[in-house]
Amino acid sequence: MASDGVNLLEVRNLKKYFSVKKGLFGRRENVLKAVDDVSFAIKKGETLGLVGESGCGKTTVGRTILRLYDPTDGEILFNGVQLQSLKQKELLPFRKRMQMIFQDPYASLDPRMTVGEIIGDPLDVHKMYQGKDRADRIKELIELVGLKPDHINRYPHEFSGGQRQRIGIARALAVEPEFIVCDEPISALDVSIQAQVVNMLEELQDKFGLTYLFISHDLSMVRHISHKVGVMYLGNLVEIADVDELYTNMQHPYTKALLSAVPIPDPDLAEQTERIRLQGDVPSPLNPPPGCPFQTRCAFAVSACREAKPELRDIGSGHKVACHLVQ
């Protein structure tokens, strides 16, 4: 995948905290640190995969980049332009260039609109393709995602999950974006349909030079589609590297545990593979452990891990790890 080496999207020290009121009359205020100082960059034409389990903050990162949430701190740079403080009206031209594909194919399409209206909605908002061109453009988009033009007048509930997800992709592509956040786009789909959608995303990336942030908990799929992969845990980016480097030379104990937990669809290999068993549950983001967020479940934790949060450090050729035990 040819990339010109220019960073299309860059995120620096991004923080998103939510305040949760508890207690009588909501007097006690607790802070949920959904994203706690995350930095990365994505080159034009590439895919960054962001993996982690529930509560790690990966979805929040995606939504904050698109300013669906306002960041608590940090910078978001799109093609060099700072987005974090722009007002909603100033963001409008950027909304043409940055789009999102959502996780739930059953909830992300307005059930009262026909497929044609759903795909045409962004065209209307940005006043693109008006008049006769509009119908042509909608037809073009629906065929691009492998559906038939006579589906345009049908309603979302008449389609299967995979088909609905493709309608969502058509909607995202309508305004010719450059960057798409794919927020768990295949989690709700059947296995054979997942492959259809992933292949389609790859073809579209080749065809239109798209840049993706691919958020998922499916480590095998992320490995397949990404150029670079980042691992998140409790709002922190604990490791990030080029895809092959990460999967063959992972350094962070959480990354190792995560990857070993993935069931292998090959009986012989499954039997041979050593599994690292993680004990206990993920701590609550309302009450993160002191120091390194992973130290409560880490088999190698030492006293330094309880005292200070490790920095994300480059250990060579762009491979960054946040762990006191890795040099």
Binding site: R63, L66, L68, L91, L92, R95, K96, Q99, M100, F102, Q103, D104, A107, S108, L109, D110, P111, R112, M113, D121, P122, V125, H126, G146, L147, K148, H151, N153, R154, Y155, H157, E158, F159, Q163, G168, R171, V175
Partner: protein
């Protein structure tokens, strides 16, 4: 040992003998076009409304109510044309006649044909009922929608205003308005629309509060839709079910309120007949000529039944969870 389904040659392990013998051409490759649709949608396209209508049709009471209303509406519009009597044609010699072939509902003390007056009354009452409901719906949607969507302080202030308004009895407002604006149909409409929209506003608000977190609302924001566009293009249409049901119940409520006001004497003035005034006029002769009150009262009751049945039917028909 796995049981063998087809023929009984249990000892054989060759697949050949398990299969029936079939002609060679059947094993030709199947053409792409002959394979059949693999993105097929089998079921007919059913829009929300058609689906709701088919459910509504099954509710017998609701259909009876609908038929009654339709018949009433047609009678109210066209009925008086077929009668030789008018609503204000007095014939004092014929006063207080019981129902007969001439006068189906009898005559009142001025000899006016009650049947025709009832039909005219239907026009007035139905007009007031539906117009009041429509105005309430519009105000309620806008108020509740804005309050629910923007949330926070806007919502808090708007809802507190509403709470205060509800605290004061409706009748007080209505009487004040009627006193200042007189007794025309317009003033009654204004009076009835003062507070009845609050129920609708609350329903709309609660729907919007729930729906604004749906992913399609988020998707609309992502596309760059303005807040008002999201509210009126996405959220309100998806709340239309409960809204319609609430509004349907506003109609009988308005009809009854108008009847009640007229009954109290602060409603429509003579000689315009509404069902309420007809009932009011018939009070002195309640025990001597009970039919004079009976017919208009029955009309009010039946219409309210009909509208309530329709409302119940609509509530079930429009509930998206019941869709199969």
């Amino acid at each position: 040992m796995i049981s063998i389904r087809l023929n009984e040659k249990k000892n054989s392990r060759q697949p050949d003998e398990m299969f029936p013998d079939l002609p060679d051409e059947l094993f030709e490759k199947l053409d792409e076009t002959q394979k059949g649709e693999n993105e097929q949608i089998v079921r007919p396209s059913v829009s929300y409304w058609r689906d709701a209508w088919s459910r509504f049709r099954k509710d017998r009471l609701a259909m009876i109510g609908l038929c009654f209303l339709v018949v009433m509406g047609i009678a109210a519009i066209f009925g008086p044309m077929f009668s030789s009597y008018t609503y204000d044609g007095q014939d004092l010699s014929n006063g207080n006649q019981p129902p007969s072939a001439e006068h189906w509902f009898g005559t009142d003390k001025f000899g006016r044909d009650i049947f025709v007056r009832t039909l005219y009354g239907a026009r007035i009452s139905l007009l007031i009922g539906f117009v009041a409901a429509a105005i309430n719906m519009v105000i309620g949607i806008i108020y509740g929608g804005i309050s629910g969507y923007f949330g926070g302080r806007v919502d808090m202030v708007m809802m507190r205003i509403v709470d205060i308004m509800i605290g004061i009895p409706d009748l007080l407002y209505i009487i004040l308005v009627m006193m200042f604006l007189g007794n025309s149909i317009e003033s009654i409409l204004i009076a009835l629309c003062l507070t009845s929209w609050i129920g609708t506003a609350r329903i709309v608000r609660s729907q919007v509060v729930t729906l604004k977190h749906q992913e399609y609302a988020l998707a609309a924001r992502c596309i760059g839709s303005s807040n008002l566009r999201i509210l009126f293009k996405h959220l309100i249409p998806n709340s239309i079910g409960p809204i319609i049901v609430t509004v349907t119940f506003l109609v009988p409520s308005a009809i009854f309120s108008e009847a009640f006001l007229s009954f109290l004497g602060i409603g429509i003035q003579v000689p315009i007949a509404s069902w309420g005034t007809l009932v009011n006029d018939a009070i002195p002769t309640l025990f001597t000529h009970p039919y004079q009150m009976l017919f208009p009262a029955l009309m009010i009751s039946f219409t309210m039944f009909a509208l309530n049945f329709i409302g119940d039917g609509l509530r079930d028909a429009l509930d998206p969870r019941l869709r199969k």
